[in-house]
Symmetry: C2
C-alpha cells in the first residue's frame, strides 16, 4: 500500500509511531524527584511496544482535513495514556488476571498491584492534565479543546470503555447474544477509536458533516479491529503476538469467532472495512493514510 506521497503504509506507521514515542517520552519524563517508582511503572507500560493505533488515527484524521498531524500530539498522546491505563487495570488479578502482554510481564507482575493501580490512575489523570494545558501549544480554541476532552472522557467512562468492561466481566462464562457482544465491543473498543479520529478532526476544524462521516468510519474500523483481535487470538503466531493464543477460549470470553465461527468473522471484518471506506468516499487523497490504516487493521499479524 502506498499513500500519495509515495510512502508505504509501513513507512507511514513507523514515522508516526516515532513521533508519538518521542512526544510520550517528553510528556512522561524519566527523571523525577517525586516517587520515581510510579514514573517507572507508567513508562514501563507506555513503552511496552504498543502500535500507537489511536494516536496515529488522531494524526491521520487531522491530516485528512489538511492540518499538520504533529499539532495533535498532546491530545494523541493523552489518548494513548488512557488506552495504556485501561490495559494496566484490565490485566490486574481482580480483572482479567493476565501475566503477559506483548511478550512482557504485565505491570503488576513487575511493580506489584499497588503501584500498577496507581500507575493506571496516574496515566488517566495525566491524560487530562496534558490536554487541559495544551490549548496554547496546540493553538486551537479553548472551546474546541473542552469539546474534545468532553468527548474523550465520555468514551472512556461510565458510558464507554468502563461500562463495556463491566458488561464484559459480567458476561464471562455466560451465554451471550450477538447483540450484547456488539454492545461490549462498541463500548470497550469502538468508542475510544472513534473519538481518537474525531479529536484529530475537531482540532483540524472539521464541520459536522465531516465529523459524521469520520465517526461512521471510526465505528466500523473499531469493530473490525476487535474482530481481528479475536481472530488473532485463535490463528495468530504466538511469537509475533507476544502472548499466548487461545487465551480468550480458556477464559470463556465471548468473541465473534466463538459466536459465528472464524470464516464468518473474517467476512464480517472485511465487509466492515468496505463500509468504513465508503464513509470516506467524499474525502480527497489526504484521507489515504486513514484508508490504508483501515485495510491494515484486518491484515495485521499482531
Amino acid at each position: 500500500m502506498e499513500s500519495r506521497q509515495g510512502m508505504s503504509l509501513k513507512e507511514y506507521l513507523e514515522a508516526k509511531k516515532g513521533m508519538v514515542d518521542e512526544a510520550l517520552d517528553r510528556f512522561l519524563p524519566e527523571e523525577s524527584g517525586i516517587s520515581p517508582e510510579i514514573f517507572k511503572s507508567a513508562r514501563y507500560s507506555v513503552f511496552a511496544g504498543g502500535k500507537r493505533i489511536r494516536p496515529i488515527l488522531c494524526m491521520a484524521a487531522a491530516e485528512t482535513l489538511g492540518q499538520d498531524g504533529a499539532i495533535t500530539l498532546p491530545v494523541a498522546c493523552a489518548l494513548e495514556m488512557i488506552h495504556t491505563y485501561s490495559l494496566i487495570h484490565d490485566d490486574l488479578p481482580a480483572m482479567d488476571d493476565d501475566d503477559y502482554r506483548r511478550g512482557m510481564p504485565t505491570n503488576h507482575k513487575v511493580f506489584g498491584e499497588d503501584i500498577a493501580i496507581l500507575a493506571g490512575d496516574a496515566l488517566l489523570t495525566e491524560a487530562f492534565h496534558l490536554m487541559s494545558g495544551s490549548n496554547v501549544t496546540i493553538g486551537i480554541s479553548p472551546e474546541r479543546l473542552l469539546r474534545i476532552m468532553h468527548e474523550i472522557s465520555e468514551a472512556a467512562g461510565f458510558f464507554g470503555k468502563i461500562g463495556g468492561q463491566v458488561i464484559d466481566l459480567k458476561s464471562e462464562g455466560r451465554d451471550v447474544t450477538m447483540e450484547t457482544l456488539h454492545h461490549i465491543h462498541t463500548l470497550k473498543t469502538e468508542a475510544l477509536i472513534t473519538v481518537s479520529i474525531r479529536a484529530g478532526a475537531i482540532i483540524a476544524g472539521a464541520d459536522e458533516d465531516e465529523l459524521r462521516k469520520l465517526s461512521i468510519f471510526g465505528s466500523k474500523i473499531g469493530l473490525a479491529f476487535q474482530i481481528a483481535d479475536d481472530i488473532l487470538d485463535i490463528e495468530g503466531d504466538q511469537e509475533i503476538l507476544g502472548k499466548d493464543t487461545g487465551s480468550d477460549r480458556e477464559k470463556k470470553k465471548v468473541t465473534f469467532p466463538a459466536l459465528i465461527g472464524i470464516e464468518s468473522s473474517k467476512e464480517k471484518a472485511t465487509s466492515l472495512i468496505e463500509e468504513a471506506l465508503t464513509a470516506l468516499a467524499s474525502f480527497d487523497e489526504r484521507a489515504e493514510p486513514l484508508r490504508m490504516i483501515a485495510k491494515f487493521i484486518v491484515e495485521r499479524k499482531s
Copy 2:
C-alpha cells in the same frame, strides 16, 4: 460560631452539604441501562456519608469573592468525585486493605475488587467529563475552566495525590523523617484541598494576589486537617468516627502524633489554623465561612 448572616457553622455546613448531595445525585443518576452495577458501586461510595469538605471549600471560596457558591457546583462535585475515587482505590486489598470506612463496608467488600477498581476509574473520568462540559452551565470562560482542570489534574496526579500515596505506601513500617511526612501530607491532602479553594476563587474571578493568599490558607488548613485526622485516629470516638481507632498505629503508618507526640501535634494544628486565618486578613466578612471552616477542622469529632 456564627457567620455574618447569623448562620451558625453547623447550619452553613448542612445547607452546603445538602446542595452538594443534591447535585451529585443529579450528576450520577441512579438509573442507567448500561451496566447498572458500576453506578451502584460509584454511588455507594459517593453517598457513604462524606463531609463534603472539598466542595464546600470550593463554594465558600467563590462566596469570599462575592460569587454565588452554587455556580461552582459542577467543579465542586468533580472534586468530591476525585476524592471519592481515591478513597475507593486506597482501601483496596493491594493498597491499605481497609474493610470499613465511615462505619460502612468499603466498596470492594460490597461490590468486589473488580467493580471497585472500575468504579474508582469511572469517578475519576466522570469528574473530567463533568467539568469539561460545564463551561456553559457555570458561565465562566473556557480559558478559566481549562486552567481549573489543569490545576486539579496536577493536584490529583503524579505530582499530587498519587505521588503522595506512593511515598506513603513505601514508608509504611519504615523510619520516616518529619520532612518526608510533611511531603506526604502536602501531596496527599493539602494539594487537593488547596486546589478546591483555588478553583472556587478562579470561577469567581480572583486576581493573582487573592489566589496567592487563598493558596496559603489552603495549604495551612490542609495540613491541619491531616494532623487532626491523625489525632482523631488515636483519641476519636469509634462510634462517631465509624471506624476503628488506632488503625494507623496498627499499620505502622507514620503520623504527626507518632513523630512529635499528641500534645505537640495539637499545638501544631492550632498554630497552622492561626497562620491560615492570618493569610485571610485582608478579606472582608464574606470570608467568614472559610474562617469558620478552618476552626472547625481542628475541633471536629469525626
